[in-house]
Symmetry: C2
Subunit: 96 residues, 2 copies
């Protein structure tokens, strides 16, 4: 689940990162927003019932709906031990 | 870019969330890990050169490679104003 500040809410953390980029000689970045990511491991399948509970959990505990948007994604279970080649990888991901 | 603590590193934030779930009558969640998400907006296309710079940025500024793993994903630009129907949506996403 990804929780990000709504676009109209000022993000001082992201702005601080953006301001630090020139000092690191990194160019070509127009904007940075920082948010939170929660990885929830569910027992069994992530069916509609589980997703409804997670959605409620997101709205009540993990995100503040007044200032934050959240997106719940279902990802297949990850292997217990990722290979070093897979960690820290750059990958493109199809999105809708 | 998603930055998560490595699996072998203790995650007190995630454990606190997990411990709070029974009080909220949410069951079926076996594990919670909390991490950070950075959304970077790039000028122009996210080509290999830009991705290499972002990868370096992740390793030097945004993540601590000693205790954290990071994954850089390329997503298409989002519309300036998402419709309310799209925000806070539950969606399944294909991953590799």
């Amino acid at each position: 689940m990804d929780v990000m500040l709504k676009p109209e809410i000022l993000d001082p953390q992201g702005q601080a990162i953006l301001a630090a980029l020139p000092r690191l000689d990194v160019s070509g970045i127009a904007g940075v927003r920082q948010g939170k990511r929660f990885e929830l491991e569910v027992d069994g399948d992530a069916d509609a019932d589980v997703l409804a509970r997670i959605d409620q959990l997101a709205a009540s505990l993990l995100a503040n709906p007044v200032i934050e948007d959240y997106v719940v994604r279902v990802e297949p279970p990850q292997p217990a031990q990722a290979s070093p080649a897979e960690a820290n990888a750059v990958r493109a991901e199809p999105t809708t």
